[in-house]
Symmetry: D2
Subunit: 358 residues, 4 copies
């Protein structure tokens, strides 16, 4: 009810503030017998962690996950998996100037209004630091998906006006991790990096789009009315900090075609597939075995390195000086978050689908 | 788990197939003491019902809702509200030719794959007829919102390439219901209607965008991590048939600005508000008291009045002849669906917010 | 949240008041492909319905269930099963004298206090009439259990001081339905019936115990911490009107033995079983393959055919005259309710157990 | 779905094995603004912890709780409260002899059957060590109840054949904590202690009954159909290790009276109360403002200090030697568990009740 859980069967509940003692979570409902590849989980955390390149925030966090339960001799036991990630870089004092000030387009004002109390250090619970817990659970979900031959690959397809217009099917997605912006096209990647460098110098921030492709999804995942597969993917993405929009398959561009142009005609044969895939791998809320693909729009980070006007808790106008360590663009670090949230949705529906038939 | 419920406290569970005996639902968690305005609920159903104009399907359904419980002497009692809407126009035989055929970009194939059995008549459960139940529950939600001074208004802002580019704040939304396409700008409405008429004549279909504005939301609705207010709105919209995308506030367009341009600066004063509203009334997943606004993209209806290639349940190629009564464009009928799904989200979070503080 | 749903995967949501238009419900999560035996479902309803013998209330209700969705050509489709049971005998006027009076040991006062409004006719939602909906869902659950070789048999083992002290394993449970009290031992049954007849003549009521035995449960059902199999069975039973206690296996009598006497020693062999079954078929909250057995205590019905002192809504003392048609003892009609609630728990855990392992 | 969460609004999710690194949990949905009295929480843990007297197990655990989130400057913030309790006394090697053996009347066999894998050290997840997490959450719940003038007091009313037959209303419950068995009557307490001492010497174990009284519950808690207040209390108690039965109000003894004897007649006056309280403070599943009281039956601990026959994982007969440190009787340590589980139920329904009315 307080919204800190995600999933119905494979369920993550997370806790933790940006500058508290630790963040962490519980994964309940992970099937027994899964070999836990700790290196893989840690490598996923590395993709998200701060300080990984010069275009991300310079906050230093090791982000080492420590598992406390649910794993025995390297395998899951079916009992809840508890884990924590220590907050090492707790420069709480850096935030004293924000105790009574509401930063523009942050959650300071709304938290204070909702709860009447607020941990102001680094945004407290509203910090994107919480997404590290999603990575841990998502990485375990990915291990299950791997066994089911499902792969998820996200990449940065747009940073402000630098756009990668080539469809995913014509890209070599294996190149995504070869550059610090996580764009599979080298030339575009370089332009994106330059833009972010300039933006950083100007003390400003930029947003963009992350595209994601899921291959190998079995037919039949998704519950057809309210919990449509794409609706759950959409909610997952919209729950990520700074996300402003979600579209799947033909997306917003679907409005530019007639029905006769957009319909995906079936191909005859033993395994029924479709000639086109404007549906984005989901029909009637249920996966049809084709690639699932979608786009997620991120706004520019609200924290900028410029003085801004704002108000304090009394409603008085104040000047908000720029301080601290922040991302000029969250997109490279958000790529694994998008993937791992998608993994949570897929595994949950994989398990849910086990009860569809007698 | 099977996904036929929506909401946590104010919860709708719906049932029913397009050509079964009836559709209906149960609203659990509606607070006691609400005066039920039956005329209002029925008027909301009228806005969605088929046959309401020459640009919608000519299927005739009265869509009269019958309440069976939970209301006593005109008021809700706190017990579950059961209701049914009879299916009067059950021309099941019209669908005999679809028994063994999968219509392109419909849910026929995925239902059969998921369940191993399928009610083929009018799409069975996958038909948008189910959304009438959402209207009933949403209309009751609207009655609660009305008492809380919250209003929700949706309108058609785009049909294919006919776009209404004026921002909502400069439109007179009270004119939305004055035309059959539900666009508040008369000139644009006429163009849209013409386009749909032409499309219908060509046996084709078109999609578009519905925009929605919520005014008067109290500060503090939404749970800050996974159940962000906009994430629940997004899921609600993406669960509507034919929806391909969702964006709120600045939406996808947010990527075109720098952080310094997009941030909403607070205005000093007793009731803290913001000078701009690129956030779309939600910050950190929690409402900030400003207008909430969002866009929903609908693809063209998959059923077209043209012969299409398809396959049967054996995977053999067949010709699918065009038959039956269908919408050339679902947008005018989807306007109340968008509003009422939004109402369900808002009321649910209104009740959830009652437990935030001691 | 308002508590009108039962189950996690196989979920019943019920609605309806005793003297409203109809009661009914939605069963969500029933697997696709189940052949629906309508005669069996109706026969289960007959076991619960009023007027079935001279020792039950004489209210006449046909209790014919009407299915509205989720079944296609005799089989479940995986979509929600909506159903209604009409209230035929709506003598609402019989209850005018109760409009402003709180009957002792009924829910009149607590409903009014909780909701500020109350349907006083026949107890409204608090009437045991609601349990007919549980029978419908439970009977479908029984059809699934039958395919899994699981059988559930309940019987009356005690009416006031008439007790059947023979353990279930020495009884011929197939005789349970041969008499109107539903006690498998004929001599005891006759004594029970006589006691109830006398009690009825005196305008009074009696309670007793229903025992229940579940055979054939597969090993591994139940979730080990909060949702222990016996905890969910206990909640199911305690949710039935008039129930005051629940015990399983050795039950309250377990306190009379030492650990060395009560422990169930395993028998060696391929299929591991136990020599005794004081555990009642559940160890650590998980079924171990032995018989599950438990007892449920029912208090005497609160409505008696004698004048009682009570208070009205103003808190003034009033005389409450005896009126209407009531059960002198609910036990014979509660036997199928106990069985069918147990069936709901078992099927839900049967489906939940599908996700335990990779 | 995997059953490691308890509660709907005020929700505890726990994790941890008896001999893993730590146990812990997340409390989601705790209202903001509650002052956290750490000493009180720790004192509740002391009441449950091992080694507290010579009649409990001599395992040594400090059971110091460490809070990681959700509390800011001594007050709850509305965000999830994460906590851990280290496992200090991890003598995992002591359990090597149990790796391939199923202890009688323990959960070893059922866990292995359910999951195909099992942490055998100290019972792993099936150990009652997990209940320490319930104490942490329950103690916070008690802090909320204290503000609402609700008090919960449990005590040992029976150890095997040593019974305290005096009703709670004639006992001085403030004396419960004056002796190590937690029985408010000194003479009976001494007899219980003697019996446990003898039992321990004989290498055996005994069970008994814990009674619990809740005073000050506001009228209107409990949801009337499936989530009746007493049904949720019953489930809570039945989820505690070793519990075999639950009864409330008149309980099983209700079957010995006629309806005319058992009915609770209302007293006239401004605040409506009842002359007797056979209902146990709950009518129709909803609290009526009178004392709530119930009994919980605990079987003797399954681990005895005597050699027992058992089987190994191959189904072969083996001798199971007695080893380790165990409780001859869990009742004194279970008293705070009963209270704190009751507190979780009460607070959850207190919050749920906030949404009953407009």
């Amino acid at each position: 009810m307080a919204g800190n859980s995600f999933g119905q069967i494979f369920k993550l509940t997370s806790f933790g503030e940006s500058h508290g003692e630790a963040i962490g979570g519980i994964i309940d409902g992970c099937p027994a017998g899964l070999s836990i590849d700790l290196d893989f989980i840690q490598s996923e955390l590395e993709r998200r962690k701060p300080g990984q390149s010069h275009i991300t925030t310079q906050r230093k966090e090791d982000d080492k996950v420590q598992f406390l339960s649910g794993i025995f001799e390297g395998k899951t036991t079916g009992t809840p998996i508890g884990f924590i990630i220590a907050n090492e870089n707790q420069k709480g004092k850096d935030y004293d100037h924000l105790k009574d000030v509401f930063r523009p387009s942050h959650a300071d004002f709304t938290y204070e209004a909702k709860y009447g109390i607020r941990d102001h250090k680094g945004g407290g619970r509203s910090s994107a630091r919480e997404t590290a817990c999603r990575i841990v659970a998502g990485a375990i979900a990915k291990l299950i998906l791997k066994q089911n031959k499902v792969s998820i690959q996200a990449y940065v397809s747009c940073v402000k006006d630098v756009k990668l217009s080539i469809p995913y099917s014509k890209l070599d997605l294996s190149k995504t991790e070869t550059n610090i912006i996580r764009c599979p096209d080298e030339a575009t990647a370089n332009k994106m990096i330059s833009l972010i460098e300039e933006t950083r110098k100007a003390g400003n921030t930029v947003g963009g789009i992350i595209s994601c492709v899921i291959k190998g999804t079995p037919v039949g995942l998704g519950e057809p009315v309210f919990d449509k597969l794409h609706a759950d993917l959409g909610k997952a993405m919209l729950s990520i900090n700074a996300v402003k929009g979600f579209e799947y398959g033909a997306g917003f561009d679907a409005i530019n075609s007639y029905g006769s142009e957009l319909n995906d005609i079936f191909e005859s044969g033993k395994n029924i597939s479709t000639k086109t895939n404007n549906s984005g791998g989901v029909q009637g809320g249920i996966s049809n075995g084709q690639d699932i693909y979608f786009n997620v729009a991120f706004k520019p980070v609200a924290t900028i390195m410029q003085t801004q006007k704002s108000v304090n808790t009394k409603g008085e106008e104040v000047n908000l000086e720029a301080k601290g360590r922040h991302d000029p663009c969250v997109l490279p670090r958000a790529v694994p978050i998008v993937e791992n949230m998608a993994a949570l949705v897929l595994v949950d529906h994989l398990l849910r689908a086990r009860t569809n038939k007698l």
